[in-house]
């Protein structure tokens, strides 16, 4: 009897919890992280949730929904730990959603940043990485955003939604970035984010007190890397071509000129692309096959008659022209920068491993800029919305 009692008392010892437990109120939940390189050391900014401000139950005060903590150090870990001199708790990176890298830090090389995130046992692989274009990462993380109280969440959602619906952006997660950086046949490409308007107002609550926030973020352009260093930007059309070739394009819109400053709106509903590689006379050749389904959504020229099949064929040809220009521009810009962001090399490795073994060291600088790319683009316009020709005269 005593024995049983003793054993049950001992079992109670096991209920006290784990050794390394951290209660919820001991965590500093980081949603967004920004890395800048400044005067020879890293400046790390953590956008941290202020739980009392976003909860629906507590009375809301005047504090911002998130706070920014910054740390400085020669290594990222040093910077992260130095934050504890200002912050009341230690950071917890398990809920990280967005990782902003300042342009200067990106030009210097992002190897160590990716390495530290992959090595850490708290971070997961599902956060998105973006580059701050023309500004510092800390400025991006200091914005008050309308609609969504948490700016990092807002940015992440915007990135993922625009990837699906607008095209010139891609949402890259850590594991995709790691895979791209590890392979010799493809280079990394990350979306760039800009802050529009003045950052000074953006930091204050006044930003969301106006109808049109004076300071907003906007994703624009895709950054091309060579190795782990940023070397150039793609403009909007070239970015579209990039997402098209890499099969990241889900839905977007194409504007087709049909008159003086009038454009017909075509919505792409789905787009699939395949890259095939060939070796012809010892030289690599790539065939990009894009198959797109589209709808007509906007008809601003009244002389375009949507009841005739020939019109549809004409529009298909024009759309194809537009897509082809985008894609060709993207490829020529990438060749100019000598950066194989499309992954032609990786595809070559998969299809022709023996050839790849010979050329892999010279792919970036010799073979890729001279590669011959053929395009096989098929556009199918299926619907014209719910009306045929509108009767508006």
């Amino acid at each position: 009897m005593l024995y049983k009692f003793a054993v049950s008392m001992l079992c109670l010892l096991l209920l006290t919890g784990c050794w390394s437990r951290r209660e919820l109120n001991e965590l500093l939940i980081v949603l967004g992280m920004g890395i800048d390189w400044e005067d020879g050391h890293y400046l790390v900014s953590y956008q941290v949730v202020n739980p009392s401000e976003i909860s629906n139950q507590q009375k809301r005060g005047d504090r911002p929904p998130s706070t920014l903590f910054q740390g400085r150090g020669r290594t990222l870990f040093e910077a992260a730990r130095s934050v504890t001199t200002e912050a009341p708790r230690k950071v917890y990176l398990g809920h990280l959603q967005i990782y902003v890298i300042g342009e200067e830090a990106a030009r210097r090389g992002i190897n160590e940043l990716i390495d530290v995130s992959a090595r850490d046992n708290e971070t997961r692989m599902d956060f998105n990485i973006i580059i701050a274009k023309g500004t510092k990462a800390e400025n991006v993380l200091k914005l008050y955003t309308p609609v969504e109280k948490l700016p990092s969440y807002s940015m992440q959602q915007s990135l993922q939604t625009s990837e699906k619906n607008w095209a010139p952006t891609i949402a890259v997660t850590l594991d995709e970035a790691l895979t791209n950086l590890s392979s010799q046949g493809s280079e990394l490409a990350l979306t760039g984010i800009r802050v529009i308007g003045s950052p000074e107002i953006g930091e204050t609550k006044q930003n969301v007190e106006k109808f049109l926030p004076p300071s907003r973020f906007r994703y624009s352009g895709i950054a091309a890397f060579k190795g782990d260093k940023l070397i150039g930007w793609l403009n909007e059309r070239e970015s579209r071509g990039y997402t098209d070739i890499t099969n990241n394009l889900d839905s977007t819109t194409i504007a087709i000129p049909c008159g003086e400053q009038r454009y017909l709106g075509v919505e792409v509903t789905s787009s699939n692309s395949k890259i095939k590689t060939k070796v012809v006379n010892g030289k690599p050749e790539v065939e990009v096959a894009i198959r797109t389904e589209a709808n007509i959504v906007e008809r601003s020229c009244t002389d375009v008659d949507l009841s005739k099949p020939e019109t549809i064929k004409e529009l298909e040809a024009k759309t194809k022209q537009s897509v082809q220009t985008n894609v060709e521009d993207a490829v020529s810009r990438a060749k100019e920068m000598k950066s194989d962001i499309f992954g032609f090399g990786t595809q070559m490795e998969k299809d022709h491993p023996a050839f790849w073994n010979q050329v892999k060291d010279k792919w970036r600088d010799e073979y890729f800029p001279k590669i011959k790319v053929n395009y096989k683009i098929q556009i199918f316009i299926r619907d014209t919305g719910t009306t045929m020709n509108s009767t508006i005269k």
Partner: protein, 382 residues
Amino acid sequence: MSIYKNSKISVRQFCILIMIGTVGDSILVMPTITAVSSKQDAWLSMLLAFIGGLITGGLFAAIANKLQRVSLYEAIRQRLGVWFGGFFFLLFLFASFMCCLTLLSEMIQFMTTQLMPETPVTAIIIFFAAVIIIAYRYGIESYARMGELLFPVFMGLFVMLVVFLLPQVDWPNVQPIMAKGFFSIISGAYPAYCTGFVEMAVLLMLVPYVTGKGKLTKPILTGFTVGGMVLFLVVLLSVLVLGPSLMETKYYPTFVLAQKIMIGHFFERIEAVMAFLWVITVFYKTLLHFFTITTGLAQVFQLKESKMLTIPLGMILLVGTVVGTPNIVVYNVILIEYYPWFDITFFLALPIVFLILLLAIKKKQQKTQQPPQQQPQQPQQN
């Protein structure tokens, strides 16, 4: 002299113990080890190891059938005598002891790397070893039954892992197939084969406790097949979902796989539940090896009891683990470079020697049995 002479485990429980033991700690580390050598052909390495494992399973089954429910030590002692038999058997036990050390090292490294980084190593070992000692003291019957109970849990979690990751499979990740040549596939298969299949030679210690008198080929081969299939699926899934570079980089790819499960934005972050999967498998394999050492020692020294040896052995194992793993890099080098040879020597070559002994010296055993039968009759004739 069998301890628990009256404990019996059913053939099905025997099979399940082998299955869970084969999966063991290979499920945690094999994807990385095979990927280092063969990159995207890691699944081919695992397949090769699996085929090798089945052949080895045949060898173990042959020995098990020859034993006919006599314990391994008894069979050797009858043929080689006390001293030689004891020496060979002690070699077997030594290998099992080292294997226990590797398993405990794997366990604590996983815990301190992924789940509880600040916990001191000794605390984790004490808790883990305590459970193993308690399980052993309850007897083989109880933990075999527990294995039978846990097996559906294990299978359920595993099927869940596979099914929920299917949407994230990216088939081009296996290309280019066999581009690195056959040799890299073999060098990836070698550690996988040794750790997964050869180390299960300790199933021979369980043979005396299995009910019935029939042949044990079917349960052994079934156990190896199912265990091998699980390992193969894990490696294949790692290649398909994570890709070769991520598989090679991260230490515990199966944990990363569990992290990647995301169904409709509500069924995610369940990797701690998945961790239960391999805690079960590592626990059972460690238990099997611990059982081998303890019962083996009791048999060698002709003891009637083996329960009292558990705590001292636990202490020695603890010291061995802490001393043997100063850091993960040293441990990894030894595990990949030298340990497979050790496994082959003690867990493959030694059983082959045992089999030859069992087959060759069969006649000697029959001769020595005949005279004692004749002697009682002689006085009567006179």
